[in-house]
Symmetry: C2
Subunit: 454 residues, 2 copies
């Protein structure tokens, strides 16, 4: 196989080297197709090596493959260049395809969820999520106040608030993927982690809204100037500091989707069964998933929150198994693109230059979640091993944290070093979680839940 991969890469390098500079027009479809091919090839080679050589979840290999082919490493030889003026070093079109992948990932995760289990652990998950937001926020806030020397004109108070906000939201995508790889999605720990990570995304957005509110009130600026589209995904332009309103919306949205989905699951199945042309059933389920994702974004939540809710709503349908089977190839095609793209965001060169504070924030990010979520889990009915698993599963940060960092950077509140630290923190927490989570599941009894305490 080695010669084949080598030959392929050689051809790629030759081909892309010649033509990468010729791109003209707004969307150059052949180059995007080429980019997708390279990313998918890298993902699958990385995945194979991780799973078969190192017995690690495939997603870890995909992320590292992304780091290797990023514009900051081998990327320029493969046609992936840093885009001048853009924070994201991947093209918006590839980002879009990756985002569709995450929506499908969370949608499928929702469908595969055992809803009864989910309901049973909803309260615990709420507590775990709260613990995992408060502890990392405080750790990040005080770390900056104590250890950071800001450049001239950068108000340390605001940097501290932003850094705290960056550390709050767990990235549910990576954990969902690892739990799926380990086949532990429906364990007590799995359900708690997924539910907590989703709640936590909402809490992360609330924290961000609070931070912006506080800074806005102090500086007299009512709204920071956000034109970035990533931001549009999370909060509509009209977002005020009205936090209660966000919480209410999220709760009502979730409650409504779940209630309707579960109450009318037979009705939904019968609507789905009306579509009898080949493949139509799965497509209509996807339509429902996309519409609810959009609704979530529309009322100011993240797309993925809607996707997960939609999946949950369909998880009681009679077509559950059929949908899982049909969506899996779509998942296999699109989801690796997202994880390779996450890896490609790492600027390894910058990462080397900011050692001290970076390591500190990173350690706090890890301890914050492990502590905040682990301790709460332990007192909510998990045993030691279960608590370790939940704490570990909540470590990864991703989309929301990166977006908070980006907002901080683009509004001038934080500067490059903090931004780079945020990115590196997201990546490292994402990288270390799969092996850690796998090892916590390998240790101790299979059951992490003290059944009698329920």
């Amino acid at each position: 196989m080695r010669w084949f991969i080598l030959a392929l890469f050689l051809i790629l390098i030759l081909v892309t080297g010649v033509s990468a500079s010729e791109a003209v027009g707004s969307i150059d479809i052949p180059h995007i197709i080429l980019g997708l091919a390279i990313m998918l090839l890298a993902a699958k080679i990385g995945g194979e090596i991780a799973e078969r050589k190192f017995k690690q979840p495939g997603v870890l290999g995909e992320l590292l493959a992304g780091v290797v082919i990023s514009p900051f490493a081998l990327g320029p030889y493969l046609g992936f260049n840093v885009i001048p003026g853009e924070i994201m070093p991947i093209s918006p079109e590839i980002d879009l395809i990756g985002q569709i992948g995450v929506v499908i990932l969370l949608f499928l995760a929702g469908i595969e969820t055992d809803v009864k289990q989910f309901m049973k652990f909803g309260k615990v998950a709420g507590l775990v999520a709260a613990g995992g937001v408060i502890v990392p926020f405080l750790l990040g806030y005080f770390a900056i106040l104590i250890f950071y020397t800001p450049p001239e004109g950068e108000p340390i108070q605001y940097v501290a608030l932003f850094t705290g906000a960056i550390l709050t939201a767990t990235s549910v995508g990576i954990t969902a993927r690892v739990l799926k790889d380990l086949d532990r999605m429906n364990s007590e720990e799995g359900t708690t982690i997924l539910a907590a990570a989703v709640i936590d995304d909402i809490l992360g957005i609330i924290v961000l809204a609070m931070v912006i509110g506080v800074i806005g009130a102090a500086t007299g600026v009512q709204q920071l100037n956000f034109i970035d589209n990533a931001w549009n995904e999370i909060i509509p332009k009209s977002t005020s500091t009205d936090i209660i309103w966000i919480v209410l919306k999220a709760a009502v949205f979730w409650g409504l989707i779940l209630y309707l989905g579960l109450k009318y699951s037979e009705k939904i199945s019968s609507v789905l069964s009306k579509f009898q042309t080949k493949g139509a059933l799965m497509v209509i389920a996807l339509v429902i998933g996309f519409l609810i994702s959009y609704l979530a974004a529309y009322i100011g939540l993240a797309l993925i929150i809607g996707a997960y809710a939609a999946g949950l709503a369909l998880s009681a349908s009679a077509y559950k198994e059929h949908l899982i089977e049909e969506l899996t190839p779509v998942f296999n095609f699109l989801v690796p693109i997202f994880f390779v793209a996450m890896g490609m965001l790492v600027n390894i060169r910058e990462a080397v230059t900011i050692a001290g504070l970076g390591v500190l924030i990173l350690v706090l990010a890890i301890i914050g979640k492990a502590l905040g979520c682990g301790v709460v889990s332990y007192f909510s009915g998990f045993n030691y091993h279960g608590a370790m698993r939940v704490g570990t599963g909540m470590i990864p940060r991703g989309e929301v944290g990166l977006i908070v960092a980006y907002i901080g950077l683009s509004s001038g509140i934080i500067q490059q070093p903090i931004y780079v630290i945020a990115v590196v923190m997201s990546i490292v927490t994402t990288l270390i979680t799969p092996p850690l989570l796998k090892s916590t599941f390998a240790k101790g009894p299979e059951k992490g839940w003290k059944e009698k305490t329920v």
Copy 2:
């Protein structure tokens, strides 16, 4: 079911009506997700109605659904608006996703092809393709010279050349889809149509290159000014009038891909079998398809020509059935987006205003292919029914014709009426082919090939 669909559409209208105007930033991911959801929903409703109420191929329903939700009809109520300054009334991102769909459609068509059959009919297909290019070109050319009164400053000679070029290329996508729906992909007629349509795309590009060469030589302009990305897909910016070179490239490319694919089919299977993680095999096959598609675009052919060649090369692999099974859900998700998008390009309002010439060109477009391909087929070994099927299967025009029309429009050689006629012609030939093709397959003996003459 009716109330459900109605309710969904009502919600959509409410939701999109409020927010459609608020889009900010270069790519608004939630709106694209919403757009995809609406398009897929329309596709599946259209498909169900076409297949079950009217016993027609599903793709016809998808196209008509596209016409209904186009920016020129109900689109504005659903968030699809005509984009100022853009010829295509759909967003470039949705176009991209549709284009990925066509690549997968042709790739799958290639994999499903019975290669022995394909080789056997290669010569016949070449003749059929030539007949189907020459006859429509001449008909279109003389129709314009005789019946068209150009506005001041529009040289009729060039308009005639362009109109001829617009009529040459059969759109293989629609026919492949209908043949798949009818399960006749591997019949003698099916193989001939697919092979001829592919060859014919290449011939269409050659004709375009010739037309541009002739006009360039006459006007002294060496190269028309093409900044459109659709164009990038078909011909690289350096395309000269060197026609022999294009033919040579295409022939060598096809020969090489097919030769390598068939000669090393066991080797390819063994490489594929190295990827053992879940779903990796299908993804690696897709990577091969994407890379070969890119190579085709890189050397100046269409993406879809490469995709079809790549599929053919994999069609002798031991994993053929596995690949078909795994790619089908991806097909089901992405391909309807392309066909709905094709429907959305129709401006029904403009179409009404240009009756006479439009109908003439349309009739010539149909007769041209039916005659050019049908007669050649008949003398190449098909019986009457087989020749009718091949002639009918070659009627639809699509991507290449539209791109030729667009180039004519953007370079100022043709004006709105001819452009609109080209678009309407593409759509109508596409719309009428599925029912016609289905009825020709229903009539006469199952075998359309006079076996003894081979």
